[in-house]
């Protein structure tokens, strides 16, 4: 018997503090696998968000530097410009990147800063208890959109990835999800490609990952995964939004 699946080496053995069925846990493992397979552990630097994943440095066995809420793109800009031959990535939630961090993210993309961003979209502010986020969809109930997000009162959700695809400096933008094994594998391929795009100096790359938040959506994990397919992905369609590389190669 040969072991064909085990914990990635670039993840520490610390058990996750995330809720049962949380997308962060799956995504952390997927990123760990990519770091292992592309041999990046010694040259990668990660920037965690403010949010549930603020303690990401307890899980990833790589260099990591804390950013204040929303400013990951600015930190990554400074860091990557200082160390152009390392791989720099930010890991940011929807509030971090599309509310407080919008300016920094859009301008990093516009300037074509050569780092990668993993944008975890679960449609709520998880860590602070489930408030409305820029990506909360119309009708979605949150603690600051009682009765569901209403157009007139709360405005429309933000499709940040589509906006970033317009920026001339963005090289590769894809939206995936982690709500099924097939989607998880696609997410892994997308992240690997984003790192490859960075290594080749093509410009800004971003993977938006639709991620379940069972606790704040008030659903069981399985139900949350279904909701992503049936409802969330209608407003945030999966697929490649921009790809200047034009190649169809896998990363490994």
């Amino acid at each position: 018997m040969k072991k064909v699946f085990s914990r990635p080496k670039s993840l520490k053995r610390t058990p996750f503090h995330y809720c049962p069925g949380c997308g962060h846990s799956i995504l952390h493992r997927v990123i760990g696998e990519v770091i292992d397979e592309m041999n990046l552990q010694e040259k990668i630097i990660g920037i965690p968000p403010a949010g549930c994943a603020v303690l990401a440095y307890f899980y990833f066995d790589i260099d990591m530097g804390e950013a204040s809420h929303g400013r990951g793109a600015a930190l990554a800009t400074g860091m990557k410009r200082a160390l152009p031959d390392r791989v720099v990535f930010t890991y940011q939630g929807d509030g971090d990147i599309a509310a407080i961090g919008t300016a920094e993210t859009i301008h990093a993309a516009a300037r074509g800063e050569n780092f990668s961003t993993i944008f975890v979209n679960n449609g709520v502010y998880g860590m602070t208890g489930g408030q409305m986020a820029p990506t909360t969809i119309l009708g979605q109930n949150t603690t600051t959109s009682p009765g569901g997000r209403k157009e007139k009162r709360d405005g429309f959700p933000v499709n940040l990835s589509e906006m970033l695809a317009v920026a001339k400096g963005s090289a590769y933008i894809e939206r995936t999800a982690v709500n099924s094994p097939a989607n998880i594998l696609k997410t892994k391929k997308a992240i690997a490609k984003a790192f490859r795009v960075q290594l080749e100096g093509c410009g800004f790359s971003l993977i938006e990952v639709l991620s379940p938040c069972p606790t704040n959506w008030k659903m069981e994990p399985l139900e949350a995964c279904k909701w992503i397919d049936e409802v969330m992905a209608v407003h945030f369609p999966l697929g490649v939004l921009k790809d200047i590389t034009g190649d169809k190669k896998d990363a490994h």
Binding site: D63, M64, L75
Partner: protein, 351 residues
Amino acid sequence: MRGNHVLAESAVRAGCRFYFGYPITPQNEVPEYMSERLSKLEGGVFIQAESEIASIHMVIGASMAGGRVMTSSSSPGISLKQEGISFLSALELPAVIVNMTRGGPGLGNIAPAQSDYFQATRGGGHGDYRTIVLGPNSCQELANLTYEAFDLADKYRNPVIILGDGMLGQMMEPVELPPEVQIKKLPHKDWTLTGAKGRPSRFLRSLLLDPIEEEEHNWKLMRKYERILKEEVRWETSFADDAKLLVVAFGIAARIAKGAIKRMRDEGLKVGLIRPISLWPFPYKAIKEFTKKVRHFFVFEMNMGQMLEDVKLALEGNGEVHFYGRPGGIILTPLEISRVISSYYYQKKLG
């Protein structure tokens, strides 16, 4: 050379290769100079960021990576940077932040002022932290103090603020620039984020959820600040030995006061000056020493009374303090301030 250019050139000679800034009068010459200078240097990085908030966070990123980094702005922009400065202090990251103070509060004006003394020395950001604050009063001092700021920042792993003002930035004086530093010969930093090659991975963070850990971290910072308090206090005195009235002023106000004091000395008034150069750590002891010989102190600042509070703290109730301030960017001439000081001198029957 113009003050803003002196500051920029001195920073580059100190080994600064990373500058992130944003246009705001009266310091626009700094990003403009840096953009030109760094584009010609190997490894030089200049970014005009999308905001002062973005630029302070780029400073954090580049500092984490081990570089000598600088940002500059003026009053409202420095307000925007406060969270970043708190983070730099908490994370113990070296960085140089330049404030060319302008009239305020709010959008204010573009004339020179000294109304950011509290913001700089009391820390406008959240939490218990201190930044070293240096107050130059001439282009030469801009050159020297900016150069030293990078060494101080690295030595203590702390942000250093150069508290200038609009006049200092615009004035033109002859200056002797410091020699270029050899970047490769700078001391190695063993705490930076560079990719975990040949060593265990590390992280830099200021989130300490356990109050016991957070308390210990605060004490650690305080112990560092104690060391700075002991070793980095700077001040200068002029005509102070036999003074009956001691003027206390910093930065451009001290420059103007010096001119006034020369006039008054010519007329036989025994007025002297003590000029704090490090605004944090503030020269409390040096000022208190003077209370043995001097009873009257005259604080002159281009604000509504900020350094005044530190002077009162220094005196510990000994002696009388008179305050004369002009906010909003009004610049007195030496003649004008000499009249105010002389009138007070005679009023107090010191002549």
